[in-house]
């Protein structure tokens, strides 16, 4: 129906109430971003305080030249793709199961929220302990309970296993949300579609492929893009579990940013990487709003 048109005083009030929020965000979110942008063109090393000359693209050159950079891009790519794919698949399977009503399904639907509720830092600590190369429980299970290996592995220190090792917590953490989104998606598909398909002779697999998946397209898009953004930004697990290592095996862009800023004590370089990372994320955000035809934001009525 038609929207209530505001009286001038209401319009003024509306504007007034939005301004503080926008202002707050600008100061604490956009301004720092712009500052980072500016920083990236400066030489800002903590070792030489007080001198921040503009060195234009020198920081960027240093960054791109660095062997860390190549590793960072590759690792971020591998990490993000891995995260998105596995989160998607596993959430799909879990949600299909949870969509059925069986004894305990209600409880499971609640419990599945747990990984999302836990602070990243807290779970990172446990994961580190689980992966521990001398006493970790993962090793214990794989050697004593289901003998896969004959001796303990160093998961976090191995160039081969480190990346999968940090993928697991990320996947673990992101599954609850995606399961929830899938579950909601299922509920929006009218039962009558499935019934019509059954009458038309489709078996369960065909119904899944030809009705469920197409009808879920918008949700699938949201999941894919959101998880991509989360994957690029993921930091905690690299920080706590591997510190980027061994060597550069798990150095992602976010870790590289941190490392440059705090280990190299070169804020300028750190800012440059941060800008590069932001641009990459921006590209994905733009993709988000292209792929998904959202209704216009704003107070337009239905």
């Amino acid at each position: 129906m038609s929207e209530s048109s505001g009286t001038p005083s209401e319009n003024r009030f509306g504007l007034l109430s939005i301004l503080p929020t926008v202002g707050f965000l600008t100061v604490l979110s956009t301004a720092p971003l712009l500052y980072a942008f500016a920083l990236s063109f400066q030489k800002y090393k903590l070792t030489s305080p007080g001198q921040h000359p503009f060195i234009f693209l020198d920081n960027y050159a240093k960054v791109v030249d660095s062997y860390h950079f190549e590793a960072a891009i590759t690792n971020t790519l591998v990490f993000t793709v891995g995260a998105v794919v596995f989160v998607f698949l596993i959430s799909l399977i879990f949600s299909l199961a949870l969509n059925e009503k069986f004894r305990g399904s209600g409880w499971l639907r609640i419990l599945i929220l747990v990984p999302w509720a836990i602070p990243e830092m807290a779970s990172a600590l446990v994961w580190r302990w689980i992966y521990d190369s001398q006493f970790g429980v993962l090793n214990a299970i794989l050697v004593y309970v289901i003998p896969v290996f004959d001796s303990y592995q160093s998961w976090l220190g191995s160039p081969v296993y480190a990346m999968p090792a940090i993928l697991v917590p990320q996947i673990w953490k992101e599954i609850p949300l995606c399961v929830l989104l899938f579950l909601t998606g299922y509920s929006t598909i009218p039962q009558s579609l499935y019934e019509a398909a059954k009458i038309d002779g489709a078996n369960a697999f065909a119904r899944f492929r030809r009705i469920t998946i197409p009808m879920l397209k918008p949700i699938i898009q949201i999941i894919l893009v959101y998880e991509t953004i989360m994957g690029i930004a993921s930091f905690a697990y690299v920080y706590i579990l591997t510190g980027g290592g061994p060597g550069d095996a798990t150095t992602t862009l976010s870790w590289y940013t941190y490392m440059a800023s705090f280990s190299f004590a070169d804020f300028g370089q750190g800012a440059a990487i941060a800008v590069i990372m932001s641009i990459i994320s921006l590209i994905f955000i733009a993709l988000y709003f292209r792929l998904i035809p959202t209704r216009r934001f704003g107070a337009v009525g239905v």
Binding site: L25, A97, W129, Q134, V275
Partner: protein, 298 residues
């Protein structure tokens, strides 16, 4: 013939469901379960191969250390780290203070903004909403340094205030977004009816809109709280003294200082840390789930 295969299909489906359920259970809960188990084991007993999967008795010494009573048998780590752990409860307290403050500020700033976005037609409000929403999507690591520099310049390093400010900036976008969607879903006619019945705009908000939006308000507030509580990077960078750390920051310090030892103690720290958000989500699960879903649906 067909009855048999239907029956077989049924059985197959039931077994598959059972297996997947077990998988879900194990997958979701095992890290937490292990965390809890390890926290109830005396530290030296953790370092054996094969490890103790199920302790025979519950040892609460690790927790007692946290509330300052016992000196516990520990196996390593620096004194700084132990001091930090001793203050775990204070740190959790700090996290709660910060989290609640952030939520309150979000409510003050964000509620009216969300309502205005939803109801008052203004030119450009769409773009502003986009701007608000969009702020959350950029990687946080990117602004770590600038924020650090700003906070340092304001002389607010190692204060809870700094963390509150930064966390609010992180939490507001999603908060406003969730409330926006909730407000938009209230039929305009109900608010019109209230105004016809004699409510001014404010009264209408107070007596009708807000009570109806309670689930949305709860969800948005919990999200704001959790965004703050769970955040560790800025919390640990900006405020790193023992007294001023948040729980997440303390855990970070612990993680850095801890080698492979004194794990039991730190598992206890972990458990204590995860209790508030876990409790919140489990108690308000319905609102949280609805909130997440409505927010992402658009």
């Amino acid at each position: 013939m067909s009855i048999n295969s239907a029956r077989q299909g049924e059985v197959l489906k039931k077994t598959a469901l059972f297996l997947v359920s077990i998988l879900i259970l194990v997958f979701t809960l095992s890290p937490i379960v292990w965390m809890v188990i390890c926290s109830f084991i005396p530290d030296p007993e953790l370092y054996q191969t094969p490890p103790l999967f199920f302790p025979t008795k519950l040892y609460i010494g690790n927790y007692q250390f946290l509330w300052g009573t016992e000196a516990v048998e520990l196996t390593g780590g620096t004194p700084g780290v132990f001091a930090a752990a001793r203050n775990m409860l204070t740190s959790v307290g700090n996290s709660l203070i910060v989290g609640i403050s952030v939520t309150v500020i979000c409510l003050i700033l964000g509620l009216f903004s969300a309502y205005s976005f939803a109801r008052v037609p203004m030119r450009g409000s769409g773009k502003l909403l986009f701007y608000v929403f969009f702020s959350r999507l950029l990687p946080q690591v990117a602004i770590l340094v600038p924020i650090y520099v700003i906070i340092q310049a304001l002389n607010l390093l190692n204060t809870l205030l700094a963390i509150i400010l930064v966390h609010t900036a992180f939490a507001i976008p999603f908060f406003v977004w969730v409330l926006f969607v909730y407000f938009k879903s209230i039929p305009q006619s109900i608010e019109d009816a209230a105004r016809i019945d004699g409510c001014s705009r404010f009264q209408q908000l107070r007596k009708i809109t807000l009570p109806i939006s309670k689930p949305g308000l709860i969800a948005a507030s919990i999200f704001a709280f959790m965004t703050s509580y769970n955040e560790f990077l800025f919390a640990s960078t900006l405020s790193n003294t023992i007294v001023s750390r948040t729980a997440a920051a303390t855990l970070t310090a612990v993680a850095q200082g801890m080698g492979r030892y004194s794990v039991a103690l730190f598992m206890a720290c972990d458990v204590v840390t995860i209790l508030p958000p876990l409790a919140l989500v489990l108690i308000f699960r319905r609102q949280v789930m609805e909130g997440l879903v409505t927010a992402f649906r658009r």
